[in-house]
Amino acid sequence: MNVNSSVSNSSVSIKDLSLNFGAVSVLKDLNLDINDGEFLVLLGSSGCGKSTLLNCIAGLLDASEGQIFIKGKNVTWEEPKDRGIGMVFQSYALYPQMTVEKNLSFGLRVAKVPQAEIDKRVARASEILQIQPLLKRKPAELSGGQRQRVAIGRALVRDVDVFLFDEPLSNLDAKLRSELRVEIKRLHQSLKNTMIYVTHDQIEALTLADRIAIMKSGIIQQLDDPTTIYNRPRNLFVAGFIGSPSMNFLRGELVKSGDGIAFSANGVIFSLAAYDANEVLQPGRKVVLGVRPEHIKVNENVGGEEHDATVDIEEPMGADNLLWLKHAGHTMSVRVNGARRFNVGAKVKLSFDMTVASVFDAESELRL
């Protein structure tokens, strides 16, 4: 056994992992340590390599370079079944010709686990997931949500250390998705396994994760807890990727203004007195100012100057109302309470909450 002190306290540890499909390099020198019992979400847009990474961890794809440790053991060349992982797929991947019960027990039967033990584990898993009434049915006779539950059960019976989920909820409709999301969260709270969860839905990522790894083109952009990711995105990409609608970005430069520093774009000045890290800001620097839609107040001053804007589009979404405003030559989205309604073309005053804004270097795109 290759027990290695640097990885022994993490459940899954990936060292310098690279993976190429022919000439295309999909994962690039990736490092990732996942703690025991942690719920880690891999978030990124389509094609960024999330599934590829997950498949590497599962042993379904061979790494081109690098190593993978699970529970301190080097499993880089182990068969999937010997890695102590269970996996749940987007399309459920239930064996269509087997009943739910057979689906759950297939892996155990293949591994020649004694029947009594199989029965026990199936019973336990189906109790946890409340699928006892479905045991005799075939997958075709189940609804999407039920299928996904069975798929989770299949990982559950294997009594593994690490659960891998590859977009398990993408095929479900919005309502079911939010229901199962809660169930998975509850499952994690009760099992306390390590879980690695791939998704491109940021709501899932934000709600489920202990930590989120945001990926782009095979590289992890930021690995942090959801709050940090949301409030202090490391770079422009993360800032734009997380949050719906996107953070508003304004390109401009830093200027001196009275006693402190301010941001100027298209001749409009925004005081940055309230910005949390304003000691690193130097005048003259080209920067991008990012403000989330919910941090812009309409006709309600939260400190700092007020800006004139016109309502361009209103999108009432029930609890919230989303406004698209024209302001000094760019469009801005602002989220207000669903009860507040505006007319298209109405003139309003905006106030920016700079305590929670972000300033990025225009060139390196890193947060300052």
Binding site: N2, N4, K15, G22, G66, Q67, N74, T76, W77
Partner: protein, 301 residues
């Protein structure tokens, strides 16, 4: 660290060993029969082997003789004519039948069975039946004559100029059913919405087929063409059963030339040279296709 990993790295050849073992029959077939057999044949085409293969090289003599032989030239011409016509007609007829079948018709199963059943019959049977139907003394010609049109002449099998069409009729009868099936499967795979969009756009049915659906069915057409083409190159039984290459040499085909010279004329060298030429023809058509279709490797997640 890296050292450790390398130590654990298993020998490449042994990974997925079962898959490799299971593929042995395929690998053997591919290498020994298809590659080995082909090379063997090409190799011996440069000898003057007669009844038995022997290693006495004569350069390209066999090829010179081959291309000087009127029968070979006729065979190639026939194959080209037959190939082009049967390709076109199979596709056109097969597609039209499929398009008709796709109109949510009643008795679809019955019609489909009728169009498909000839495919179950061998070329030998097909050849015999059509020889009989086209026989001038008993078949269509005599029937039409007996109905009063005494000067009616339809005797393709004994008329050198049109004998190849007689064979074509039989070949189409046998093969279009399968083409129809393939096309039907292709048509059913077309997104329902495309049809709706075309109807909303006010595009007439035939234009929708011609300008939208057919171009969309490219993969199906390719598969179909490959299947038809591989049959065309090999056409042999049908000709033997229907006309034996006659009258004269007017319905000879390359495969028959190969067989006749290899076995009847006991001139293996000549037969091998002829089959090598067939192979070259096939390769020119097929290799680019196979490369495009399978060489690049399909992308998968």
């Amino acid at each position: 660290m890296t050292g450790q990993a390398q130590a654990g790295r298993p020998i490449k050849l042994l990974r997925n060993l079962n898959a490799k073992i299971a593929s042995i029959p395929m690998i053997l077939t591919a290498l020994v029969i298809f590659v080995g057999g082909t090379f063997w044949t090409v190799f011996y085409s440069f000898t003057n082997s007669k009844l038995l293969p022997r290693l006495s090289f004569v350069g390209i003599d066999q090829y010179e003789r081959l291309w000087a032989a009127p029968r070979w030239v006729t065979a190639i011409e026939n194959l080209a004519l037959y190939g082009v016509l049967s390709l076109i007609f199979s596709l056109v007829i097969g597609f039209m039948l499929a398009a008709l079948m796709d109109q949510k018709i009643r008795f679809e199963n019955t019609f489909r069975t009728i169009f498909l059943y000839p495919f179950a019959l061998s070329f030998i049977v097909t050849g015999l039946v059509w020889q009989w139907v086209l026989n001038p003394d008993f078949g269509i010609q005599s029937v039409v004559r007996s109905m009063g049109w005494t000067s009616f002449t339809f005797n393709p099998l004994y008329t050198p100029e049109i004998v190849i069409y007689g064979i074509l009729i039989a070949a189409l009868w046998q093969g279009t059913g399968l083409v129809m099936c393939l096309m039907l499967a292709g048509l059913r795979g077309i997104d329902e919405d495309i049809w709706k969009a075309a109807r909303v756009d006010g595009i007439p049915m035939w234009k929708t087929y011609l300008f939208i659906v057919i171009p969309m069915m490219r993969p199906v057409f390719i598969t179909t063409i490959v299947i038809i083409a591989s049959g065309i190159v090999k056409v042999y039984d049908l000709v033997v059963a229907q006309t034996s290459g006659g009258p004269g040499i007017s319905s000879e085909v390359p495969a028959k030339y190969v067989y006749d010279y290899m076995f009847q004329a006991q001139n293996l060298g000549q037969g091998f040279a002829a089959s090598t030429m067939m192979l070259v023809t096939v390769a020119i058509i097929i290799v680019p296709w196979a490369y495009l279709e399978f060489g690049g490797g399909r992308k998968r997640g």
